[in-house]
């Protein structure tokens, strides 16, 4: 997936200012930045939900799966009814087989008959992701997937996502949690005020902090990151 000089404006405000980046198969790209940085706007454009005012986005190797921040599923239907519905809507030849596959992948086979509204937020998020995977996407976009989850649920979520990336799916996710981004993102894309400040692995961000904000270099990653943003004028 590749984005070139993407610009998005809302009225007179520029939400994205010429953001460019690319991601290869199996990459895990964490999009991080403060509130209003443009993370959700960028993911929406990558997902094709909104159009950029300038620049272009391309995905050379197939479908782009999108998992919105709020679980996009029907809470009054059961787990399997949700999966079956979206498998049918995706036009799968054997929607029941796809549903079984996703039940296996999410580990929710035992709870297949339960109404989604009765499941925990973590399990709802797993179904949300599973629905995003039904299109068998080469690229999976996740908008703050761990919001509202407890530590155990987060851990299971990231195990699940990491396994997808290990199987060759490009995973691009946004998060507020810097530790989480460092731990699960193979690459970090730092946005601030719609501008891409950094694109590289966490280790390189550490080095950039050391260069530009040496006073925070030995602090924890989140503190160092905030100092880096401050040093860059954000």
């Amino acid at each position: 997936m590749e984005a070139k000089n993407v610009v998005k404006r809302f009225g007179s405000r520029e939400a994205l200012r010429g953001v460019s980046f690319s991601a290869a198969a199996g990459d895990r790209v964490a999009v991080i930045g403060p509130n209003g940085a443009g993370k959700t706007t960028l993911l929406s454009i990558l997902a094709g939900i909104s159009k950029p005012d300038e620049g272009e986005v391309s995905s050379s190797n197939g479908e782009v799966g999108w998992v919105p921040q709020q679980a996009a599923l029907y809470r009054r239907l059961t787990v399997e009814e949700n999966l079956l519905l979206f498998a049918r809507l995706e036009g799968h030849e054997d929607p029941r087989a796809s549903m079984e596959e996703m039940l296996e992948l999410t580990g929710l086979r035992e709870r297949r008959g339960e109404i989604v509204a009765r499941l925990s937020g973590g399990n709802q998020q797993r179904i949300n992701i599973a629905i995003g995977l039904l299109s068998r996407p080469a690229v999976l976009l996740l908008d703050e997937p761990s919001v509202g989850l407890d530590p155990r649920q987060r851990s299971r979520l990231w195990e699940f996502v990491s396994a997808l990336a290990d199987r060759g799916t490009t995973v691009i996710f946004s998060t507020h949690d810097i530790q989480e981004a460092e731990r699960y993102g193979g690459r970090l894309l730092v946005l601030a005020d719609g501008e891409a400040l950094f694109d590289g692995p966490p280790v390189e961000l550490r080095e950039a902090v050391r260069r530009e904000a040496p006073e925070a270099a030995d602090r924890d990653f989140e503190t160092a990151f905030v100092a880096y943003l401050h040093h860059r004028g954000h």
């Binding site: 999108w66 599923l73 519905l85 809507l89 109404i115």
Partner: protein
């Protein structure tokens, strides 16, 4: 189209999964519809009126020295209202104040004397007393209308009696006959006999007297002829204008059929508008709208699915209701094909309107409120007949109700139920145009549907 099918199945699953919502969605409109239907079809019951007659027994109305036959005013009034006979004024007041009766009618003791004085040189003003409890404006208006109507009926009855008696005197004057005064019978010669006698005796009179007698004979003949004309005129005085009703347009079905059409249309409107608007807004609340319209189904396809859902559920509910109404009023089942066409067109237009509401309001609670706020007043305004309000207001109502599918749906369903109603073609065309217009509005509103 494949996606529409699965979404339709999904919506029915959700509906089935929410029995309370399904019951409310179906039962509440039916309850409203049945109540409205009964209210319209039964018409007003005879109002209860307390009746106190203080006129002494055996008092008769005398006009011009003769007694009129009993007018039976009490019996006539009590045919038109449910009379609750009371013994005194206090009891009448109690019943009015407690709301047990709509009003109290008191005939004072001097009523007949005052009526009798009408033919004297010092006529009085006969009055009856009416006690009312105007606890609200509607009741006050109703009481005024009822009392005015009752008194008009009483006045008409008395006037007819007086007219008839006057006619009888004229008949005596013209044709002659017997007349009773103070217990004695008086023979009246009459103008006709007078003229005949004069004509008979004229030849026997001296020639110089004949011209004068001829003038008298001619006067008697003229008076007889003119008084012959006067009698029907007196008869007409009691009710000078009669109504000759001619229907020049606006064919309408019988009242009970119209009431069923109102009930069915109300049910259909609430079910379809609420269901379509609510289920569309639910797609947004479940965050599913963006996921669906990312390629799984087009926004137009999603709108079409919601309208289909409304039509399907509305069709079932309305048909069941109409078939249930068979227990009260027999309907022509042979016209069921027209019922289906009317319901399908109505459902499509109402569904499109519901989709526009859902797309505009976006949140389920706001949608439900908006659907009620729009549908209820429009339904009531659609029932306002021409002439019931001033022409400017009626024009405004007519244009407003033409913009919403309720009125054409009512016309289409009424036409489908009974052949005596207006033609079905016009309302169907109206509904088709509204369906297209609202679908376009809904499609336009969907552009900002997912925005926060």
């Amino acid at each position: 189209m494949r996606g529409v099918r699965w979404l339709l199945l999904k919506d029915l699953q959700i509906l089935r999964r929410s029995p309370l919502q399904a019951v409310l969605l179906v039962a509440y409109p039916i309850l409203i519809a049945v109540l409205v239907g009964f209210a319209i079809s039964r018409g007003p019951e005879d109002p209860r009126v307390a009746f106190l007659n203080e006129v002494p027994p055996n008092t008769r109305i005398n006009v011009g020295g003769g007694e009129l036959p009993k007018a039976n005013v009490k019996e006539r009034i009590c045919k038109r209202v449910e009379c609750v006979f009371v013994d005194d004024r206090a009891e009448a007041e109690d019943k009015v104040e407690s709301g047990d009766v709509l009003a109290a009618l008191i005939l004072p003791a001097n009523l007949v004397n005052k009526i009798n004085s009408l033919s004297t040189l010092t006529p009085g003003v006969p009055e009856v007393e009416v006690l009312v409890n105007e606890e609200n404006a509607v009741k006050a208006e109703l009481v005024d209308d009822r009392i005015t109507s009752l008194l008009a009926q009483a006045n008409l009855t008395i006037a007819r009696r007086i007219g008839a008696e006057g006619g009888r005197y004229l008949g005596l004057l013209v044709n002659g006959g017997q007349f009773s005064v103070l217990g004695e019978t008086v023979q009246i010669l009459g103008l006709r006999t007078t003229a005949r006698i004069l004509e008979t005796v004229t030849p026997a009179l001296p020639p110089d007297l004949r011209p004068a007698l001829k003038e008298v004979t001619e006067f008697a003949a003229q008076a007889r002829d003119n008084l012959d004309v006067a009698k029907p005129l007196i008869d007409r005085l009691a009710q000078p204008i009669e109504v000759d009703k001619v229907v020049v347009g606006g064919a309408s079905p019988p009242l009970e059929i119209f009431a069923i059409a109102v009930a069915a249309t109300l049910t259909l409107a609430f079910v379809v508008v609420l269901l379509v608007a609510g289920s569309l807004a639910l797609e947004r609340e479940e965050n599913a709208f963006l996921r669906l319209t990312r390629g799984l189904v087009s926004p137009g396809g999603l709108l079409g699915e919601k309208v289909l859902l409304g039509i399907a559920v509305g069709l079932v509910v309305t048909l069941l209701m109409l078939l249930g109404m068979q227990f009260f009023v027999p309907l022509e089942l042979s016209r069921i094909g027209l019922w289906l066409i009317a319901i399908l067109f109505s459902g499509a237009a109402l569904g499109a309107a519901g989709a526009a509401l859902g797309a505009a309001a976006r949140e389920v609670r706001a949608v439900s409120l908006l659907a009620f706020m729009v549908t209820l007043p429009i339904a009531f305004l659609s029932l306002v007949p021409s002439g019931a309000v001033n022409p400017t207001a009626f024009d405004a109502i007519r244009y407003l109700t033409a913009l919403f599918p309720f009125k054409p749906a009512l016309q289409a369903i009424a036409a489908a139920l009974d052949e005596a109603g207006p033609g079905i073609g016009g309302p169907l065309l109206h509904l088709a145009l509204l369906a297209v217009a609202y679908a376009l509005i809904a499609r336009f509103a969907l552009r900002r549907f997912a925005a926060v």
